[in-house]
């Protein structure tokens, strides 16, 4: 526990353990053997190369939404709108993929660009409202989620209706899918697709922007103290808008990898759960790009393994969501864990316990209210 970052990772690990314990208690209460449950849960996500591929494929959109939330968080903004940005990104990618008969590399590049631009613009509006009118981004991004939900709900059946069902779009042609022959073959025909490569590139890219550039420094300065950053000559409003836009672009890309990679069409009437899970991923990953990568793969593992567990035991697959949600609650209340750790440390050092009253949330403190 020497560094701040190291401490945050320890707190995340404790939250994971507590979440798994809570899951075990729930399994016990419903009359199942938790050890067997976890055995099948983890085997379901890891036991062969195909399932490993599926774990990574499930993690892919989570990496993007996690990065999205983390990026905005560093500037002191809550991006609750990743779900809507994903939908718009997916819609833009699908629209391009179904419309243009271009060759595969050109088409994929165009689709990803469209998703990036769509998601970015969708989030730029809340960013602008925040900068210009001080409208709280939590509320405006929630509104944008529902506007995106209904936009997809009406646009997909009208312009891209599938041949059989009113509720889904046409299937994307193979040239417009991120699924690739060599990658699928490598993982024995799993869902894995080029999205994971893209995700890892963007993990590196966001880490570089945040930690190595002046722009990243300004973003974090705005996140730590908006007023001080303004006094120091940083254009706060510009950074707020840019931060939201980039966050939205990341979530939009996540939408493209989900709807044109993991899936091959869009369902209407669903707000993708990856949006809210992205908040969980970001929080568990201590808002750092590498942490996000790890947390997303862990959640991908839980989501991939739950079906196998459900097939082998009588535990409902929703246990995975319950475990994730509990982990987030324990991550949010990590001060409790921190107090206990402090007390243990002091006792070991032979000191009397002193009440600790520090603020623990990893996020920059937010001044004022909406």
């Amino acid at each position: 526990m020497t560094t701040r970052a190291g401490r945050e990772y320890i707190l995340s690990l404790v939250a994971i353990v507590l979440g798994l314990v809570a899951g075990a208690v729930l399994m016990l209460l419903s009359g199942n053997n938790p050890l067997l449950g976890y055995l099948y849960l983890f085997r379901g996500g890891l036991m062969n190369i195909e399932r490993l591929g599926n774990t990574l494929a499930t993690a892919t959109p989570l990496i993007f939404t996690g990065l999205s939330v983390a990026f905005a968080f560093r500037t002191g903004l809550f991006n609750i709108g990743a779900a809507g940005q994903m939908l718009i990104g997916g819609l833009c990618a699908t629209a391009v993929g179904l419309t243009f008969p271009w060759s595969r590399p050109v088409l994929l590049a165009a689709m990803l660009t469209a998703a990036l631009a769509g998601g970015g613009l969708w989030a730029a509006l809340p960013g602008w409202l925040k900068a210009r009118f001080n409208v709280h981004e939590v509320v405006s991004t929630i509104m944008m989620n529902w506007i995106a939900f209904w936009t997809v709900f009406y646009m997909v059946p009208r312009y891209f209706k599938g041949p059989f069902l009113e509720t889904e779009s046409q299937k994307l042609p193979d040239t417009a899918s991120l699924k690739t022959q060599w990658l699928s073959a490598l993982f024995n025909g799993s869902y894995i697709n080029l999205g994971i490569v893209l995700a890892i590139v963007f993990v590196a890219l966001t880490a570089f922007i945040l930690d190595q550039t002046t722009f990243g420094y300004e973003l974090k300065a705005v996140g730590f103290n908006r007023h001080a950053a303004g006094v120091a000559g940083i254009n706060v409003n510009r950074n707020l808008i840019l931060s939201m836009t980039i966050a939205g672009a990341l979530a939009g890309l996540g939408g493209a990898t989900f709807y044109a990679g993991y899936a091959s069409n869009m369902q209407i009437g669903v707000l993708p759960s990856q949006g809210f899970d992205g908040i969980a991923v970001s929080l568990l990953g201590a808002n750092s790009p590498l942490g996000v990568l790890g947390a997303a793969i862990f959640f991908g593992l839980l989501h991939t393994g739950k079906g196998f567990m459900n097939a082998m035991t009588r535990i409902p697959p929703e246990i995975a969501d319950t475990i994730i949600a509990t982990i987030i609650y324990f991550a949010a209340t990590s001060i409790m864990v921190e107090r206990v750790l402090d007390r243990l440390k002091r006792r070991r050092a032979g000191q009397l316990p002193v009440a600790a009253g520090r603020d623990t949330i990893a996020a920059p403190k937010k001044g004022g209210a909406r």
Partner: protein, 315 residues
């Protein structure tokens, strides 16, 4: 036109009432200084508890089962809200994150439990509330037809709670203390008010009301728990802000949402509205909220200490 309005009105009211009571719950929490994004999850808790209680009891005690279910949802909401209160008040956790965690835990946990209980994850109730005319008043011209015919008993319960809450917030010692905690907790503390206790109570009231709101959805227009509140809790939160943290404002905002949503839902059956694409009608309430937030941003009536943990040592 008149017949159209009289047709739509009962549905609009039925949709408004759960939003209204949930938003009113949010009012208690936020006026005491605690942001409550968890309203959505607390509604889900109410839906689950209400549906489960009623489905178990309704054979043995038809009629009364509904009211026991509503009471159970009220209590369950208050208890579950303690998770949020504990995180925000005792541990000074980030209130937005805690609220999101509450939403996630509520949705996942209830679905998990429902899957264990029914197998499908849905809980059906056989009998909901029956719409009734209010005696005498329903004979009044115009408003008798609009307001007092075909009403649910929960509508009157909720409206009574609105009046009671307004009185409590503005005319009682507790209400004054609660608002003081949201505006200036240090001043409240120095006047001998237990800020933590008041905030705990406020968050629990918000949970109880949101739970009641969720159960109201079950006993009126839904009849089934399916693991989601479909964004109603978030809409209630938006109505709270749209209504500028005031009971009357909330009443207006939730009714606006209720009416707009109902119009969008029935637009296909109305020739004048069927021409407008559904996308405009469905997104209308959300766009108006965004615009309202912009317009009210200059003179926001938000409680001054909203979202800030109370730290005794801070100046």
């Amino acid at each position: 036109m008149w017949s159209l309005i009289t047709q739509i009105f009962p549905y609009a009211v039925a949709f408004t009432i759960p939003l209204l009571i949930t938003s009113l719950g949010g009012l208690f929490s936020e006026r005491s200084g605690i942001v409550n994004i968890g309203l959505e999850g607390l509604m889900i808790i109410g839906m689950f508890t209400g549906a489960l209680t009623i489905s178990v009891l309704e054979i043995a005690m038809p009629g009364a089962a509904i009211w026991v279910g509503l009471l159970a949802a009220f209590i369950a909401g208050a208890l579950f809200a303690m998770l949020h209160a504990f995180a925000c008040i005792t541990l000074n956790a980030n209130q937005v994150i805690s609220g999101i965690a509450v939403n996630m835990v509520a949705g996942a946990l209830t679905t998990y439990l429902a899957r264990n209980i029914t197998g499908s994850g849905n809980i059906l109730i056989i009998h909901g509330l029956v719409r009734k005319d209010v005696p005498v008043l329903s004979a009044l011209p115009v408003i008798g037809r609009l307001v007092f015919t075909q009403t649910y008993a929960t509508t009157w319960l909720v409206l009574f709670l609105v009046v009671l809450s307004t009185f409590t917030l503005y005319k009682t010692k507790f209400g004054l203390r609660l608002r003081a905690c949201g505006e200036h907790p240090h001043a409240a503390d120095s006047a001998g008010i237990n800020v933590h206790l008041v905030r705990y109570l406020a968050v629990m009231i918000s949970g109880a009301f949101a739970g009641l709101g969720g159960a109201t959805v079950i006993v009126t227009y839904s009849g089934e728990f399916n693991g989601t509140a479909a964004g109603l809790g978030f809409l209630a939160l938006a109505a709270l802000i749209f209504g500028q943290w005031k009971p009357l404002g909330i009443l207006g905002a939730t009714f606006f949402f209720g009416f707009a949503s109902t119009v969008a839902n029935v637009s296909q059956a109305i020739p004048a509205l069927a021409k407008i694409s559904g996308i405009y009608l469905k997104t209308f309430p959300y766009i108006v909220t965004l615009i309202a937030l912009v317009l009210s941003s200059k003179s926001s009536q938000a409680p001054k200490a909203l979202g800030e943990p109370y730290d005794k040592g801070k100046r």
